[in-house]
């Protein structure tokens, strides 16, 4: 069977991002909690970060000329795939410790897998990215595994 996945592409499995360290602030927690329609006071007041706040905390803050015309930032962890239309994605998140304003968190992302499947409408490429988030003591805080699908 022919494959879309070259050896060169598969060799990018294991690629890791530089650690990304960010400060959790009450103001950013409040913005996130309000925008998501959260109804719990501790989050709306910014006393604690709600689950999935890390999605906002670690979204790449890129400069205007680094955005594509459709407003997307290029994920430098990923290789150039032979299929480019991003379809459904899935997330798996483990929460080990609560997050509070004043916490410094560090995220490291690893491209852990690339594989293909042949669907009814043609080939599909899947890739998986693992994000480990730790505090300054190195204690695990959150782990997130993302699976994305391209066609």
């Amino acid at each position: 069977m022919t494959t879309l996945l070259s050896d060169e592409l598969l060799a990018t499995i294991g690629r890791q991002s530089a650690p990304h360290r960010e400060l959790v602030t009450r103001r950013d927690i409040r913005k996130y909690a309000i925008a998501t329609g959260n109804r719990q006071r501790k989050y709306l007041d910014g006393d604690q970060a709600p689950p999935m706040f890390h999605v906002a905390l670690f979204w790449d803050v890129v400069e205007l000329d680094e955005l594509t015309p459709d407003g997307v930032s290029i994920d430098t962890l990923l290789p150039k795939f032979p299929l480019e239309k991003a379809m459904a994605g899935g997330l798996e998140i483990d929460y080990f410790k609560p997050v509070y304003p004043g916490d410094w968190l560090t995220a490291t992302r690893t491209l852990t897998n690339i594989y293909e499947k042949h669907g009814r409408s043609g080939p599909l490429i899947f890739y998986e990215v693992d994000m480990q988030i730790v505090d300054d003591a190195g204690t695990p805080v959150i782990r997130e595994q993302t699976t994305r699908l391209l066609r």
Partner: protein
Amino acid sequence: MLMNRSLPLAAVQVGEELPERALKPDNVQLFLYNAALWNAHRIHFDEPYATQVEGYPGLVIAGPMLGDWLNQSVEEWLGEEGRLVSISYSNRAACYIGDTVYSGGKVTAVDHASGEIQLEVYIRNEAGEVITPGVAKAVMEV
């Protein structure tokens, strides 16, 4: 304002349903969400682009916001005496500004000795199709 559940772990049974919540995000909420992330993808705010270039029927509700609502659904049901340990979900189909969607779920397993609870969660659309299915694990104090 939100009322958290105050039932003890002993009252949690397999099959118990989480209260359904109707969600109808508008442009303002979707804008604020993507601004909080620094997500400038035009499908979320540029309606001519979303419809004419990408061929969507409207502005696309951000996938991780649907995921967030699943987290909220579990946490609101758990209340202060419980803790969300893990969650997984997939964005299977899109929804758009103007749509009303519903978050909900049910208990699929409960271990009264350890306090561990497994749940199935979902975001469904008005037609009743589950667009974002997920599973979650929580612990309640024994």
